[in-house]
C-alpha cells in the first residue's frame, strides 16, 4: 500500500489520532502565535495610516481573516460531514463537530470587529445590510449545528444529524460571498484578490497575508485539540485511554 494511503487509514484509528493530535497541537498553536505576533506588530506599526480612514482601518487585519475563516470553516465542516455520512468514518464526525465552535467564534469576531469599525465609519453599530445579515444567519447556523449536536443523546447519530444540517447550510456560503455583488450594499465590495490585482496598496498587504496564515494555523491547533478531547470522551473506557489516563503509556 502506498505510504500516504496507509498513513491516512492509520489516522482513522482513535489511538493513532490521539498521538498525532497531541504531537501537532502545540506546534500549530506556537507557529500560529508567532505569525500572529508578527502580523499584529506589522499591522499596528509598519503599515502607513489610510489617507481617508486614518488608523481605524487597521481593524481589517482582524476582521478580514476572521471573515474568511468563518466561511472556510463552515465549508470544511460540511466537507467532513459529507465524508462522515457517506463512508461512516468516525474521525470525520469528530472533526466536523470540532469545527463548529471554532467557526462560530470566528463569525462572532467578524461581526464584533465589523460593528466596532462601523460605528466611526458608517455612524452605526449595525445595519440590515445583505452582507451583515447573511453573516448573522451564518452565526445562527453554527449555533444550530452545535445545539443539535448537543441535544441528541447518541453521539454518532447526533454528529450525523448536525452534519446534515451543515451540508444543507452550505447553500448560504455563496450568498454571503457574493452578497456585495448581487445587492446594493453598505459593506464595501471585494478589495483583495489572491489572483490578479488587489485594490489595496501593496504596502498594506503583507500583514494581512500573515494574519490569514496565522488564523489558519491557530484553527488547526484548536481543531486538533478539540477533536482530541472529543475523541478521548467517546473512547472513554477503552484500554488505551485508561493507560493514557494512568500515565503508564511510554513517553512519546
Amino acid at each position: 500500500m502506498h505510504p500516504l494511503v496507509r498513513w491516512f487509514h492509520q489516522l482513522g484509528s482513535p489511538p493513532y489520532f490521539d498521538r498525532f493530535a497531541a504531537r501537532w497541537t502545540p506546534v500549530a498553536y506556537i507557529a500560529g502565535i508567532l505569525v500572529m505576533a508578527y502580523g499584529v506588530w506589522a499591522a499596528l506599526f509598519q503599515v502607513p495610516a489610510d489617507y481617508q480612514q486614518g488608523d481605524s482601518f487597521r481593524i481589517l487585519y482582524i476582521h478580514v481573516p476572521a471573515a474568511w475563516m468563518s466561511l472556510f470553516v463552515f465549508g470544511l465542516m460540511a466537507f467532513y460531514s459529507a465524508i462522515a455520512l457517506v463512508w461512516r468514518i468516525k474521525l470525520c464526525e469528530i472533526l466536523a463537530m470540532a469545527c463548529a465552535p471554532i467557526g462560530a467564534a470566528f463569525t462572532l469576531i467578524t461581526l464584533a470587529t465589523g460593528s466596532i469599525w462601523g460605528k466611526p465609519m458608517w455612524g452605526t453599530w449595525w445595519d440590515w445590510d445583505p452582507r451583515l445579515t447573511t453573516e448573522l444567519i451564518l452565526l445562527f447556523l453554527y449555533l444550530g449545528v452545535i445545539g443539535l449536536y448537543n441535544a441528541i443523546e447518541d453521539r454518532r447519530s447526533a454528529a450525523r444529524a448536525a452534519g446534515l444540517l451543515a451540508i444543507v447550510g452550505v447553500a448560504l456560503l455563496p450568498v454571503i460571498r457574493y452578497s456585495v455583488v448581487w445587492w446594493n450594499s453598505l459593506h464595501q465590495g471585494q478589495t483583495i484578490s489572491l489572483f490578479g490585482k488587489s485594490h489595496m496598496d501593496a504596502s498594506m498587504l503583507p500583514p494581512l497575508f500573515a494574519m490569514i496564515v496565522a488564523t489558519k494555523l491557530w484553527f488547526i491547533g484548536s481543531l486538533l485539540a478539540r477533536a482530541r478531547a472529543d475523541n478521548l470522551r467517546r473512547e472513554a473506557g477503552k484500554d488505551w485511554v485508561l493507560r493514557l489516563a494512568r500515565g503508564t503509556e511510554a513517553s512519546r
Binding site: 444567519i137 445562527f140 444550530g144 445545539g147 441535544a151 447519530s157 450525523r160 444529524a161 447550510g169
Partner: protein
C-alpha cells in the same frame, strides 16, 4: 404504487385531522392572536397599521407555521408509523413530500384563505392584497418544505423546544426577506415580479431537494 401510497397517506391524515378538528384551527387562531396583539400594541391607528400590515401578516404566517412544525413527524415517530414508512416499497422522500403537502394544506392553507380578512383587520391597502396572497402562496409551501428538514432532524428527540426555532430561523430568513420584500416593492408602486419569481425558483428547488434531505435526516434519527 406511488400514487396509491400517496392516496392512502392523504386519506389517513385527513381522517386523523377530521377526528381532531380543533387542532386544525390552531395555526389560524395563533395568526389571528398575533395580528390582534400587533394592532393593539401599535395603538390601533389606521395610518400606522397600514404600513406594517403586510410584514406583520407574513410574520404571523411564519410563526404559526413554526408552531405547527413539531407535529409534522412527531406522532408518526411515537406510534412507529415512521419505521413502516422506511420499510415501505415506495421512496421515503415521496412519503415525506406527501406528508409535507398535507401539513401545508391543513396549517398554511386556512391561513392563506383567511389572509384577506386578517388584512382588513390591519387596514392593509387593497392594492397590496394580490401581491401579499401571491407571495404567501409561493412562500408558505417553501417554509413547510424547509421546516420538514428541520422537523426530521429533531424527530429523534423527545422534546425539541427552542432548538426547532433555532434551526429553522436561518433557513426561513431568505424566504421572509423576499416574501415581505415583494409586498414592500409593490407598495412603492414598482413591479414585484422579480422577488416573486425568486420565491418560485426557491420553491421548485426545495420541492426536489428538501424531501431528499428530510428523508436522510429521518434515516439518521431512526437508525
Amino acid at each position: 404504487m406511488m400514487a396509491s401510497a400517496a392516496r392512502a397517506l392523504i386519506a389517513r391524515d385527513a381522517r386523523l385531522l377530521w377526528r381532531r378538528r380543533g387542532d386544525a384551527l390552531q395555526p389560524a387562531l395563533f395568526a389571528l392572536l398575533v395580528v390582534v396583539l400587533f394592532a393593539l400594541a401599535l395603538g390601533g391607528e389606521a395610518r400606522a397599521l397600514e404600513r406594517v400590515a403586510a410584514p406583520v401578516l407574513w410574520l404571523a404566517s411564519l410563526l404559526a407555521g413554526l408552531l405547527a412544525l413539531d407535529t409534522l413527524f412527531r406522532g408518526d415517530a411515537e406510534d412507529g408509523s415512521l419505521e413502516q414508512w422506511m420499510l415501505a416499497p415506495v421512496p421515503l422522500s415521496w412519503l415525506v413530500l406527501v406528508r409535507t403537502f398535507m401539513h401545508w394544506a391543513t396549517t398554511a392553507l386556512p391561513l392563506l384563505i383567511a389572509t384577506p380578512v386578517l388584512g382588513e383587520l390591519l387596514h392593509l391597502p387593497r392594492a397590496q392584497l394580490p401581491v401579499l396572497v401571491g407571495s404567501l402562496a409561493l412562500g408558505t409551501p417553501l417554509l413547510s418544505l424547509l421546516g420538514a428538514v428541520v422537523a426530521a432532524l429533531t424527530v429523534g428527540m423527545r422534546r425539541s423546544g427552542i432548538l426547532v426555532a433555532l434551526l429553522a430561523l436561518p433557513l426561513y430568513v431568505p424566504v421572509l426577506v423576499f416574501g415581505a420584500g415583494s409586498v414592500a416593492v409593490a407598495a412603492q408602486g414598482l413591479d414585484a415580479t422579480a422577488p416573486l419569481l425568486l420565491l418560485g425558483a426557491g420553491l421548485v428547488l426545495a420541492l426536489v431537494l428538501a424531501p431528499l434531505a428530510a428523508a436522510a435526516a429521518i434515516r439518521i434519527a431512526l437508525t
